[in-house]
Structure formats: structure tokens, C-alpha cells
Amino acid sequence: MRGTPRPGQIPRSLALTLLVSLGVGLAGAWWSAWQSGLPDVPMATSTGKSFAWSDLDGRWGLVYFGYRGCPSACPTALSGLAKEIRALGPQEARVQVVMISVDPERDTPARLGAYVRYFHPRFIGVQVPDARDLTLVCKAFGAAFAAPATAGGEIEHALDVFLIDPRGRLRGRLSPPFVPGEVAKALRG
């Protein structure tokens, strides 16, 4: 009879259950694996709270690594991002721009806050206080970073903007000079 397992054969319902369980398990493992891709290290935001990647909470994250003492690349990138975000209109709320300071000693959360809000009131600045943690975060994104050879010198840092999708996956990067509409296009893609 159809559907009746022969001796030694696994019942169809059980097989289905096993397959579903396996699928869910694999999906969970994949999700966990991704989650571990971005280090869970202590981070402070310019709003005075701690920051975790899960705070992006279903939104797109646009992550930039920079510092207040950067004369040109950082303000230009943040200004360009602000323009792009405003162009999104009502969809703006779906996106969160995060600037991670590569100069945590001088960029305190309060100073970072005033700096990033100059470009857009919803931008947040993040300080990773521990230098080793900052290196871990940069590596997780594939973001170039090198501390200056002398105190107060130029900091080598990534010029790209990194995209995190609403499920928390690192989806790619945008490189300067940013073309108007590039962010909207990336979010659609």
C-alpha cells in the first residue's frame, strides 16, 4: 500500500520532519555563523548607549570607518551619505548610517555625536574603546586600517561604505566617489 513503510524503511512523515529539522538547523547555523562574523565587542554610541550590531534591527546599515581629525575623505563621505539618505524620502527610516571611529582615543562618544549629527541628525557615531577590538571589527568588514606611525599623525583607513542588509548580512561596499543614487540602487539590489 502507498504510504505504508516497508520493514526497515523510515516513515515518510518522520523523514519529512527530519528534513525540516535539518533545514532549520542549517539555517540557524548559517545565521549564527554570520552573526559571529561581526565581533560582539564593547562599543559605545554617540547617544550615550552601548551599541550592538543587532541594534540595526531589521534596517539597512551603512557603515563607515573614519575619524573627526580626517580633513577630507571622512567629511566628504558623510556629507555624500547624508545627501543620499535624504534622497530616499520616506524610506530613509529603513537605513541607519554608522560611523565607527578609527581614532577612539580622541573621538569620545560625545564628540563623535556632535560631529556626525552635523551631517545628519540620525547618523550615529560608534567608539570601540579597545584598540584590539577595533582591529577585530575592521578585519571582520575587510576594512583597511593602520594606526599612525607617530602620535597625532594621519590614520590610514578604508574609504568605502559597507552595506549590512536588514537580516544582518554584510552585502558589499560602495567606493568613492559616490554617484548620486548609488545608495538607493544598492538597497534595491
Binding site: 567629511p75 560631529y115 552635523y118 551631517f119 590610514e156
Partner: protein
């Protein structure tokens, strides 16, 4: 007579349209010589809160003689440097100082964030959109030239 008027007219127009100009004219015909400094069109990006460095961008355009920008100065600023944004050893962006910036005789060089630009270091004054400041530029051939530079928001 008409040639003389014409030659003086050329010099006068150059002086009016090119801003900083060192002009000389040899009376007596069309052999008038005009030694002009590059046309300068620069702007300073408004300072975000808490910053101590700023970029200056725009264009330098040759007016018939090649030249090179060697130095710049601005009151209330500790130092003005010529910089270029390059890729550092780690693959990130890194500023490198430049000794001079060549300006072709017939052509322009753009100063922009992702390339060559001037950097103001040590801001002892405010930089707010709407201001116009005087900057001293030192060219290899044209000498010191004072230009007006507006402060603007980046967007």
C-alpha cells in the same frame, strides 16, 4: 592708435576677469605682453564641530604660462599644506604631502577631496558657510597672490 587702444583693452579685460593679475603692456602695437597668474577658483569646506583640519578645493587654471603652487597661508590657521589622497600600505586612504602643484600653461588642475587639495591645519578661527576669507598663494613664477575664498557647506 587703434592698436594701442586694443592692446590696453586686452590688458584691462584680463585684469578685471582674472582677479589677481600682474600685467604689463608694451605700448606701440599688438606686441602687448600679459604675465598672468593662474586663474584661481577655490572654496573652503565649512568646519564640522570639533574639527581642527579642513580641506580647500576648487580649480587652478593656467593663463598662458605654466606655473606651480608652492605654498599657501591663511590668517588664523597654523599651517596650510598641499596634500594628495593616496592608497596606503594597508590599502586604505592616506594623505601624503606634496611639495608643489604644477599648473599647466593651458589647462586646469582640480583640487578635490579624492585627489590633490589644500589642507588647513590648526584652526584658530571659525569657518562658517557664507564667510569669504583672503588666502595667500605662492606660485613659483607669479609670486604671492591674494585671493578671496568663500566658505561653503559641502552639499
Amino acid at each position: 592708435m587703434s592698436y594701442r587702444i586694443a592692446s590696453w583693452f586686452v590688458v584691462a579685460c584680463a585684469a578685471v576677469t582674472c582677479g589677481p593679475v600682474a600685467a604689463s603692456a608694451r605700448a606701440g602695437g599688438l606686441r602687448a605682453t600679459v604675465e598672468m597668474v593662474p586663474a584661481v577658483s577655490l572654496w573652503i569646506a565649512e568646519a564640522p564641530p570639533g574639527t581642527d583640519v579642513l580641506g580647500v578645493y576648487g580649480r587652478l587654471e593656467g593663463r598662458g604660462q605654466s606655473d606651480a603652487l608652492q605654498a599657501a597661508a591663511l590668517d588664523g590657521v597654523r599651517e596650510v599644506r598641499l596634500h594628495v589622497l593616496t592608497r596606503g600600505p594597508s590599502g586604505g586612504g592616506l594623505m601624503q604631502p606634496l611639495a608643489r602643484l604644477a599648473v599647466p600653461a593651458r589647462g586646469a588642475v582640480d583640487l578635490k577631496p579624492e585627489g590633490v587639495h589644500l589642507m588647513l591645519i590648526g584652526l584658530g578661527r571659525t569657518f562658517a558657510a557664507g564667510q569669504t576669507l583672503k588666502m595667500r598663494l605662492t606660485f613659483a613664477r607669479a609670486g604671492v597672490v591674494v585671493v578671496k575664498v568663500p566658505v561653503r557647506r559641502r552639499d
